[in-house]
């Protein structure tokens, strides 16, 4: 079966003021891809995602989503996208139920249907008992679960996830990972950014490493291993981002900690 191209970036360049954030990025993403989108802080990961969501504009080049250029599209393409941002701010004063109903409404879902679906999803995550409690009282993991539900309520074709597992306990992590695998098997595309290499390594079927505004690596984990002659994604990451002094830095750090006051 021919896999359809879902996202294409053509020569995308983005500047903030004089600062070059992304330079001439080319990238094609197909349905069923789980892309582990990694890179050091400030490498331009979230900028890329924000551009695809229409949060950031003023870039050079073209971004095509579902085969259509963003510049010629209105907002309706977002109906097929789900998004879990990093450090997401929620409308704290709402209850989980109200929040989810609102988000579902923004995606154009019918109210009763959305409510019922949200409730069932919350039951699966075992947070249905706090459905009518305010989000401000939620723990980090509970908020994360609400966010994940809110990104999936409308059954999107593309998912952008930024550290989606943060705050979840080990069992919930397992569930979410399995959910992602199954969604991808159904042909959904997942764009997964994270700093935790072990998870990225296991979860993704394709890894894109971005560094200094360029794509430094793109391929399956096995391909990257072969190209770089390294055993783990962490090692590949370090070698591609040109970082090898973690031992020295740690030694210096510990030495400073242990200094006796003069």
């Amino acid at each position: 079966m021919e896999r359809q191209e879902v996202i294409r970036l053509e020569h995308v360049t983005k500047r903030f003021g004089d600062k070059l954030v992304l330079e001439d990025i080319d990238l094609s993403v197909y349905e069923g891809d789980i892309i582990g989108y990694i890179g050091p802080n400030g490498a331009g990961k979230s900028t890329t995602v924000k551009m695809m969501l229409g949060l950031v504009d003023g870039y050079e080049g073209n971004i095509l989503i579902f085969g259509e250029n963003l510049k010629d599209q209105d907002h309706t393409y977002k109906k097929r996208i789900g998004y879990v941002p990093e450090n997401a701010e929620l409308y704290d004063s709402l209850t989980a139920q109200e929040y989810l109903a609102f988000i579902a409404g923004l995606y154009g879902l019918e109210e009763d249907l959305a409510r019922e679906k949200a409730h069932r999803l919350m039951m699966k995550f075992e947070i249905d008992h706090v459905m009518n409690a305010r989000l401000s009282s939620f723990s980090k993991g509970m908020r994360q679960k609400v966010l994940i539900i809110s990104s999936l309520l409308h059954n999107p074709d593309v998912l952008f996830l930024d550290e989606p597992l943060s705050g979840l306990d080990a069992n919930s992590m397992l569930i979410v990972r399995e959910i992602l695998a199954q969604l991808s098997a159904q042909g959904k595309t997942i764009f997964y950014s994270s700093h935790i290499m072990d998870i990225v390594e296991k979860i993704s079927n394709r890894i894109v490493l971005i560094s200094n505004g360029h794509i430094a690596a793109d391929g399956t984990f096995d391909e990257l291993k072969e190209q770089n002659q390294k055993g783990s994604l962490q090692d590949i990451f370090n070698s591609l981002t040109g970082f090898s002094q973690h031992k020295e830095i740690a030694e210096d750090f510990v030495a400073i900690v242990q200094e006796e006051p003069a």
């Binding site: 969501l53 949060l55 977002k78 997401a88 701010e89 923004l106 706090v130 305010r134």
Partner: protein, 542 residues
């Protein structure tokens, strides 16, 4: 969540929105959410698991604005449109602008909206329209509350034409204020980052609060002084004062005044709000995208350590741990915006109070008589800053950070309280005292130096007592602001009465030849006892 009266009213205009290309059902959804959140605006103290469907606190506070609005009524009886409406709109603009800045800055500058809604299939125009309608709703309520009674009065006193015009002008004024605020914020954001904008807003809030305090004093007094006989003299600066435009519009429409200058002003009253409105709508996308600056953090400047200040702190707080708490309190009191908003205006007011009283004295006698008299006791008013500040120090917007008290190996609880009290004295009392003392000595001559010394000693003693009474066992910056309830105000007020007691004792000792010297001695001993044993008691009773 979707059954607000305002929404049902809005439903009637749904076709209008649709024709303008706005997704009405989305608009309704977003507004419904906003209104729901407004009913919960009062921050919940502790994470509640069950929601009590709160009343909208904003609507509950509207009656205060109705009171403000009464200030306008006397001017309705003046027989000069120009003067009358310039003043009225001056007052109204001030009231509305103040509340716009203090209550709606957060709405206007909400960054969450962008991240939350822009990623969903909703178009920008619908989101912006929802935001504008949300603010407009409240501005209208506020305007109705403030001007409702004056409007009705004007209908009877000034006639129907006046009433209609007044109403129309109020709508224009609302446009103008909303747009002006947004445009000013926009301009600030172009040049500065979000922190700076928040600081500027905070500063404006403080200035406006102080302005209200002092303004009311002055207005009350100016009534006695000036006879209300004003004639209009054109001046170029009137081109820049919106209240005068509205005065001119009234003049032009109701008296048929057709002089060129008045017509220009009248036209401005109509055109500028409309232009501002168009400009705002055009600029919304740019404005929204510049909001991202609000969440960016710019590197702070490194602060140079002032050696003189260090030496001074070392002198008044030799214990290093105590000094540490002083520095901590300084930093908190300087940076906590809500604290500043609650405290700084009152501190500013303290500078003015003594002179307001002297002014009243001079009206009854001469300046010479004042200088010879005993009005220097007014210096006791400087002590007012102490309970004002100390009743607020236990609150903080970031009260959750107070876990550090529990986690740190604290040697002695007393150090916290003493450090705090000293920092309040240094940060708030010292400047007030240092600025007012020379002024007092200039007015009353050097004969009062011993009296001033006594008052400063009293301040030091009094500050310790205030900490003990007002703070008790609570740790500084450890409770959320919403707990700051009326009882706190009552306690602080009681402590203010204590100042009167001190003043009375001072007067009594002053009747003696060396009474003041003795009293000063007694005060010093009392300071010693209270600052050591008194503070001890907090710990013991814990």
């Amino acid at each position: 969540m979707n059954n607000f009266a305002t929404l049902r009213l809005l439903d009637r205009f749904a076709p209008l929105f649709r024709r303008a290309g706005i997704d009405y059902s989305m608009l309704r959804l977003i507004l419904g959410l906003k209104l729901t959140m407004d009913t919960r605006r009062v921050p919940t103290v502790f994470a509640q698991s069950k929601i009590k469907e709160g009343k909208n606190y904003f609507i509950r506070s509207l009656w205060i604005y109705a009171l403000y609005g009464l200030a306008v009524i006397p001017f309705l009886f003046v027989d000069n449109y120009f003067f009358q409406l310039s003043i009225i709109f001056g007052i109204l603009m001030f009231i509305l602008m103040t509340s716009m800045i203090s209550d709606f800055s957060s709405v206007l500058l909400d960054v969450r909206d962008r991240n939350m809604m822009m990623t969903k299939p909703v178009d920008q125009r619908t989101i912006s329209t929802a935001k504008m309608l949300h603010i407009t709703m409240y501005m209208s309520l506020l305007t109705i509350a403030t001007t409702g009674i004056p409007l009705v009065v004007s209908l009877f006193v000034n006639g129907f034409g006046f009433f209609l015009l007044f109403l129309a002008e109020l709508i224009l004024l609302n446009f103008l204020i909303l747009m002006m605020t947004a445009l000013v914020y926009f301009a600030i954001l172009q040049f500065f980052d979000g922190e700076k904008l928040k600081n500027i807003i905070n500063f404006m809030q403080i200035a406006l609060t102080l302005g209200i305090f002092i303004g009311y004093q002055l207005v009350a007094r100016s009534f006695q002084l000036t006879s209300l006989d004003w004639t209009f003299t054109p001046a170029w600066w009137q081109l820049f004062t919106p209240p005068v435009w509205f005065g001119a519009l009234h003049e032009a429409v109701l008296t048929g005044e057709r002089s060129f200058f008045v017509l220009v002003l009248a036209v401005l009253a109509v055109i500028i709000p409309v232009i501002a409105m168009i400009l705002y709508v055009k600029m919304i996308p740019v404005f929204e995208s510049s909001l991202h600056k609000l969440s960016t953090v710019e590197q702070g400047k490194e602060k140079r350590t002032n050696r003189l200040k260090q030496a001074f702190l070392r002198f008044i707080a030799p214990d290093q741990e105590e000094r540490n708490f002083m520095n901590f309190s300084f930093a908190m009191m300087k940076s906590e915006r809500e604290f500043k908003l609650k405290v700084y205006p009152q501190v500013g007011f303290t500078f003015v109070i003594p002179f307001l009283f002297m002014y009243t004295n001079i009206e009854n006698g001469s300046f010479e008589a004042l200088r010879e008299g005993s009005s220097y006791y007014l210096f006791y008013f400087t002590l007012l800053v102490i309970p004002t500040v100390l009743s607020m120090v236990k609150y903080s917007g970031a009260y959750k950070g107070s876990w550090i008290y529990a986690a740190m190996p604290l040697r002695d609880r007393v150090l916290i309280d003493r450090g705090l009290t000293k920092s309040v004295l240094v940060m708030f009392y010292l400047p007030v005292m240092l600025i007012l003392a020379p002024v007092f000595i200039w007015i009353f001559s050097g004969r009062i130096w011993l009296d001033l010394l006594v008052i400063v000693a009293t301040a030091i003693l009094y500050a310790a007592i205030c900490t003990l009474v007002l703070n008790g066992k609570s740790l500084p910056f450890s409770q959320p602001f919403s707990v700051a309830q009326h009882q706190e105000g009552i306690k602080a007020f009681m402590m203010m009465l204590v100042i009167g007691g001190f003043c009375l004792i001072h007067v009594l000792f002053n009747n003696w030849t060396i009474g003041l010297e003795i009293y000063l001695g007694i005060l010093l001993v009392a300071i010693l006892i209270v600052w050591t044993l008194g503070f001890r008691r907090i710990r013991l009773s814990k």
